[in-house]
Symmetry: C2
Subunit: 150 residues, 2 copies
């Protein structure tokens, strides 16, 4: 089995430039090359990229994935940190859902309060955004998290 980077891309659903990017970030080892310097992949790389893909779909950062891969490469180590990474991610996702729900109700109130047929001067959307006091509930003051939903 010798796959070109394009074959690998089709099989995993990861785009070609993204595969090269992962290699540059150290998530994939530099593969064999053809006589003409093109990348050639085997089953191991296919599986590893599938792993990365799946973890990315679940919102893990590349940093977290690198840690998980490190662990995969050392099967004798305790899997405590893998569990912690997954639990951290779960916590981050739950927090994000919580915040998005607050935004949802606030936005629904704003969007549905306006029929859209008036002039901008009377627009409830604009008024709501201009005056925080119209909020029925407070939405959060910016906090940092790195989970992406894409």
């Amino acid at each position: 089995m010798f796959l070109s980077i394009g074959d690998l891309a089709v099989r995993t659903g990861v785009k070609v430039p993204t595969i090269r990017y992962y290699e540059s970030r150290g998530l994939l080892a530099a593969p064999l090359r053809s006589a003409g310097n093109q990348r050639r992949y085997g089953r191991a790389e296919l599986e590893r990229l599938g792993f990365i893909r799946h973890a990315r779909d679940l919102g893990f950062s590349l940093e977290a994935i690198a840690a998980l891969i490190e662990l995969q490469d050392h099967p004798d180590r305790a899997c405590t940190s893998a569990t912690r990474i997954a639990q951290d991610q779960l916590g981050a996702v739950r927090e994000k859902i919580r915040r998005l729900r607050a935004l949802e109700s606030e936005l629904a109130r704003i969007a549905e309060g306006c029929t859209g047929d008036g002039a901008a001067r009377d627009c409830y959307v604009l008024a709501s955004l201009a005056d925080h006091d119209l909020c029925t509930q407070d939405h959060p003051i910016e906090a940092k998290s790195s989970t992406q939903v894409s």
Copy 2:
């Protein structure tokens, strides 16, 4: 009322470099300057920045905010587009919640399936990520959206 950029930052909760960034992006007009070239703000800028802050908290992109501001500056126009922007944003938030909920249950299954006291070779977290077939439900294949939850 003449506020320095630092005063404005304290009053709105927007950081100083972010205020300058908004100015560079055209969301805030270039303000008056002191004799020594420092920015001086009045009530109008305070309100506008509050508007931007509120909209950002609700996840609107700077592009969307620019469109809303444009509308604010022309109160005679119909507010149709403001309503559409808000509804688009609401739709994006709902979609994001939907996807995050799928991730949540998948992650909960993975994270709770592992006690964390075994070796990496037997880790359920790693196995789940390596083998997509273990998924009880499918989580989405990467789709594009620009709403950020921060």
